[in-house]
Amino acid sequence: MEPRIEDQLRDLAPQVLGALVRRHGQFDACEDAVQEALLAAAQQWPDNGVPDNPQSWLMTVAWRRLVDTWRAEGARRRREETAIALELPIQSQDLDRDDTLALLFMCCHPSLSAPSQLALTLRAVGGLTTAEIARAFLVPEATMAQRISRAKERIRSTGIHFDLPPPSERADRLRVVMHVLYLVFNEGYATSSGPAFQRADLTIEAIRLTRMLHQLMPADGEVAGLLALMLLTDARRAARSTADGDLVPLAEQRRDLWNKTQIEEGVALLTRTLGTVPVGPYQMQAAIAAVHDEAPSHEETDWPQILALYEVLERVSPGPVVTLNRAVAVAMVHGPRAGLALLGTLDADERMEQTHRLEAVRAHLLELAGDLAAARESYLRAAKKTHSLPEQRHLALRAARLS
């Protein structure tokens, strides 16, 4: 299929589904009907051409499919079916931006588990097929189908409404939506070569969905911040690993491989946002990524600026991971020993026990301080703790280089 048709279908998917659900309820049946309409379009449009009004086409096909389902369900529903059949299918003027948003809030409902939120968002809002989602997460298609089906069942049984959350809950619910999109991005932000290749598609999909959310909520600073963070982080993707799949740390990346268009877009977005809205963690992380992306070389990075941004981030969103990152900035401004002293404050933090990152950062700072034997030990401890294979290889290589 032409990529343009595929893109067009994915953009239309949540609008068509949102309109159907608003009109007929029954998210479950509507979602299946829209998937079938998307499939029919994917088969017919490349040969027959894209219809003049693609939305109407999709809605008519999905609506017919819905009526067929209800008819198959038998006499129990006959009366409703007659009532529905008399109505005209939904017209494209019924499309409402808030429907797409309501759909996103529904798929990221806090009563669904994180794996369910991710799977359902990618299918119902992203318009991806179950097979594509299964491939991206490296699980059997039957397992992914069951996960989506259980999520829909949970929506039905807990009576989750297809509505925008009330203003009192809006901020909390939006945070969950953004976190789900961030998790999708992070899943895909693996190496871009080798067996992990298809996971990289998740990064592109996360950016597309976040861009959509930003268009729906242009005034929200954190949504803009999240989109900028994704663009500025993903801009380094080509430089982030070698052809063999080995990770390349920021300091050693070939900056000419960074995606300049994406950096410009991210910086412009951030510039428009910062100072006009209350500051939040995604905006601050994006601002830090922007300082890195705009530095001509690692040595010329504006570290005092990065340190100042981490101090703001720590105030708006304190946590051990922020302190960990701030320690790197402290080391670059005040020397590795100062960074190591700050890391020491995290040793007793239980939240750091499960992650390898404390040891990985300590190893790096010990290496900068010239304590190579201790650095080697820390690299090895970090290599044992990580759950990422490319990261483990990278950390083990760093240790081996010091022996």
Binding site: R199, P249, T386
Partner: protein, 120 residues
């Protein structure tokens, strides 16, 4: 996150020590467990292995690789089978393993699959 849940033992000793009813119940238990993991959408794969007595171990001896009969581990215990599950947390993987342990009364090893994205 994915975990591998591994069972160890000697199927031969199991067959000799346990009666027919026990074996029938065990097969039923395993089938139900697989079905439950499929229903909960956590199933990735599961395999049972042929008896350890049929294993070959290939070793590097005097500069060449040599195949010998028997499992790698010197003890009588060897890998009998495994499940790979995709779960929300380590606690859930341990919960699944505990259900097996409660039934078989044998230790089970739970180990994370290296499937996390790198963090920098």
């Amino acid at each position: 996150m994915k975990y591998m849940i591994m069972t160890f033992g000697s199927a031969e000793a199991g067959l000799a020590a346990m009666g027919k009813e026990w074996m029938v119940e065990m097969i039923k238990f395993m089938t139900t467990l697989d079905e439950d993991l499929k229903k909960s959408a956590e199933f990735v794969s599961a395999e049972g292995l042929a008896d350890g007595s049929q294993a070959k171990t290939v070793r590097f001896v005097n500069g060449i690789s040599v195949a010998t009969d028997g499992p790698f581990a010197e003890s009588k215990e060897s890998l009998v089978g495994y499940w790979i599950v995709d779960v929300e947390s380590e606690a859930r993987a341990i919960e699944i393993a505990s259900r097996i342990v409660d039934y078989v009364k044998q230790p089970i090893e739970v180990r994370r699959v290296m499937d996390a994205p790198p963090e920098f």
